[in-house]
Amino acid sequence: MTTHSNKSVLKPADADQALEAVRWAISEETPLELVGKGSKRKLGRPFQATHTLDLSDLTGVTLYEPEELVLSARAGTPLAELEALLAENRQQFAFEPTDFGPLLGGEAGKQTIGGVVSCNLAGPRRVKAGAARDHFLGFQAISGRGEAFKAGGRVVKNVTGYDLSKLIAGSYGTLTVLTEVTLKVLPAPEDTRTVLIRALDDATAIRVMALALQSPYEVAGAAHVPASLAGALGVEEVAGGAATAIRLEGFGPSIEYRAGKLRDLLGGFGTVEFLDRQPSLVFWAALRDVKPFVSTPERLVWRLSVPPADGARVVADIKGRLPGAEAYFDWGGGLVWLAIEPGADGAGQAAIRGAIGLSGGHATLVRAPDTIRASADVFQPQQAPLAALSARVKETLDPKRIFNPGRMYAGV
């Protein structure tokens, strides 16, 4: 028996073996840690599991029909492999999933499609294309009752039965063992370019991004990086000052036209510059993968989801409460990546969640040592009726609490 994080590992070769492993765990009432390639293992609350169910051998594309915009793959298939296949057909997963590997101290490019879906990842294109949940059409899975089941389908338009795909997306492996997933794919844009407005403060940047997002120019990304973090993105053209970035994607003539329109619309706020395709790709990937905070691993990293127009206010409030806090904005202000000093009281949760307050929204502690993630509320605490409903939903799929128990909330 070899060990992997001091846990014994079950590594099924196919869905049937995974089913047997789950049935065994149910009969032993022993919790399982579900992992693909482990790139997001440090995401969520630490929890007790005597065994790891390693799904990384469940690989392979089972269906890909580019003209039908659909792809199915076994859950352990590496995302990178699928993205390469899609690129050959000039297609992509439009939700542009974040790669948490480097941020959480691991390698880039390791994650599996099952992990991407389970954590409902979404990158900067979220404002236009949605998150993994919006592209997740159906799945095959094993429930904590030891049953293989399916939900959804392979077609985009489907309202037959409950949309359990949404429930599973973002459940962090606490409800089922995914064995196969089906996703909608979309054409990759022919070209891309970024409009940069320089030297704006946070509040003005939020207004500028709102104007861009309210425009008919089909913005596919709206982010603001303050001067202190602009250099960390690894794009020479952006370093040296705050950058408010508006991404355009699509056909050449259309990008040319829209870039001109946005320059006219936003030029009054600051100097306008343009990033061409290559630096643009690097910029948005770095922003997506939280690169500005990778090189300071001791700091705690929070991810805040707030009404976009409130982004700057929330961050200013937090900075007043937590000296040394730094933040940048994606999703037009609706997604805040925040780094704080490691010694902050209670990992800063009271200050951060207090600042979000009545705006509505939530904060997740993405990077922190195990001890801190064990004591802080990693996910936003829920009101009692919602927490009770979530616990009842967990009960329907995993009554013995075998799958990643406590990873999101204690007892769920």
Partner: protein
């Protein structure tokens, strides 16, 4: 249609129940007279009718909560209802149940351009949301054909679509938050003006749950800026194959049109004779491709689509040169249902989705079924996303024709599943497709879905008799059979 047997003990207590409901919703909010309840006896699936026990029209979320809590405690079934435009019988009443109508929840609560959201009560119509923001150049993207009448609350229940789904998504992709009430009276908020829910995505589960999980009392949706330009191409093909090839080729070229609709010959003829849109009468398939977006993009893509259509063997192409002309192109498609209604006393509108490439096969098989059942069929097709609406023509006054039409419809939907598709793309299962669910799902699949319902509504009082062919008690569904120590796969690697 088999519905749950009415509970005689509930019916016997009707007067007491009506009084209790009047104590919660005073005045005209409780309707108990047969004649006044008549308007609630059916929805847009008019083949089925049933008077409810009583109709309740609350004004506030608190009243909804109290009504549901009371019904939960005394075991009364509840059927939620918006505008009653369901095409699958989702709002069909139960003899021993109340209709909970949300029609008085008809106000826009908040318009927030900075966050690009509208918050509305569930009884606001789909078009009402667009109308509230149109003067600022915004709109709400999902546009089911019933958008003048259907409510946003009903859209959540059904996960409504429309002709622009391929590019802009269904309801589920455009709703950000809801306030809802559970059967036990708990009031729960999911999401808000931020882009993703925290915790489990119960908003995603609620959307499309057909009124079986909770009652929506407020909705926040995202709004979009109207595209600068909209133009359409009207393309005729000599066969459905060449039309289907054209759709595939457009998508393969990386183009996702705002709308892409196909009609077959019977639908083209019915529509043309009704609205005189200038449709070609000598083609087998007609495709409307609408391109929307920035002016430069639309101009560029119109040319691309035209080239693709010619390579696919198009025999006629018209390109809209004005907004009026674009509307004329759409007039026939939008009037397809009433146009078919003109040439037949009754029609059934089906709603399966298929992998698009299966279209020629499905149309061929459907023509064979048409002969077998002795009924005509016309097809309109959301070609981009494979959502097929066969319209089966029948005459309810001819003995046996309704049954024949329903049998024909069931055969079509089974065929959709057989070729890799699903029973319903946007109309919902309701009562109409309930008994076909076993063709798409195994008992294990369906039981798991019903267990999720148990988390929301353990007594199965909310809209029972819809969606699921068999109702199981939650206690029965919760039982687990565990076989200790059995390892049929002894070779499972253990490290």
């Amino acid at each position: 249609m088999r519905m749950p047997t009415p509970d005689a003990s509930v019916l016997a207590r009707r007067a007491e129940i009506v009084n209790a409901l009047r104590a919660i919703v005073p005045g005209e909010g409780v309707i108990a007279e047969r004649d006044e309840m008549r308007v609630y006896e059916t929805d847009a699936l008019t083949a089925y009718r049933q008077l409810p026990m009583v109709v309740v029209l609350p004004n506030t979320t608190e009243q909804v909560s109290q009504v549901l809590k009371y019904c939960n405690e005394v075991g009364i079934k509840v059927v939620p209802r918006g505008a009653g435009t369901s095409l699958s019988g989702g709002a069909l009443p139960l003899a021993d149940g109340i209709i909970l109508g949300l029609g008085k929840f008809n106000k826009i609560v908040d318009i927030d351009y900075a966050n690009r959201t509208v918050t509305a009560q569930p009884g606001v119509t789909n078009l009402g949301i667009t109308n509230a923001v149109a003067h600022e150049g915004f709109y709400y993207a999902p546009d089911p054909s019933s958008q003048i009448a259907c409510t946003i609350g009903g859209n959540i229940a059904e996960n409504s679509g429309g002709v622009h789904c391929l590019k802009y998504g269904l309801t589920t992709n455009n709703v950000l938050g809801i306030e809802m009430v559970l059967m036990n009276g708990d009031i729960i908020r999911l999401g808000g003006k931020h882009l993703d829910s925290d915790g489990y995505d119960l908003l995603g589960v609620m959307t499309g749950s057909e009124g079986l999980l909770g009652v929506v009392t407020e909705v926040t949706v995202r709004i979009l800026r109207k595209p600068e330009t909209l133009r359409a191409l009207l393309i005729g093909f000599p066969s459905s194959e060449s039309g289907g090839d054209c759709v595939a080729a457009i998508i393969a070229a990386g183009i996702i049109p705002g709308g892409m609709e196909m009609m077959d010959k019977p639908a083209i003829h019915a529509a043309e004779e009704f609205v005189h849109a200038g449709y070609p009468m000598d083609v087998e398939a007609l495709l409307i491709v609408e391109l929307d977006g920035p002016e430069a993009e639309v101009h560029h893509l119109i040319g691309e689509v035209e080239k693709i259509a010619l390579t696919c063997g198009a025999v006629s192409i018209r390109i809209s040169e004005s907004e009026d002309e674009r509307m004329v192109f759409w007039a026939g498609r939008k009037a397809a249902f009433p146009a078919v209604g003109r040439i037949s006393p009754d029609y059934l509108c089906m709603d399966g989705t298929i992998p698009r490439k299966q279209l020629p096969l499905v149309l061929t098989r459907m023509a064979e079924m048409s002969v077998k059942h002795g009924l005509r069929v016309a097809n309109v097709f959301h070609a981009g996303d494979g959502n097929l609406h066969p319209l089966i023509l029948y005459d309810a006054n001819k003995p046996g024709e309704l049954q024949a039409a329903e049998d024909f419809g069931a055969d079509i939907l089974k065929l959709c599943v057989e070729v890799g598709g699903v029973l319903t793309g946007e109309h919902g299962v309701g009562v109409e497709k309930r008994d076909l669910m076993n063709h798409q799902f195994t008992e294990v699949d369906l039981n798991q879905q019903q267990r999720v319902k148990c988390a929301f509504d353990p007594e199965a009082l909310l809209n029972p008799g819809k969606v699921f062919p068999q109702l199981h008690r939650c206690a029965e569904l919760g039982r687990m059979h565990i076989h200790r120590g059995q390892l049929p796969f002894p070779d499972l690697p253990r490290f």
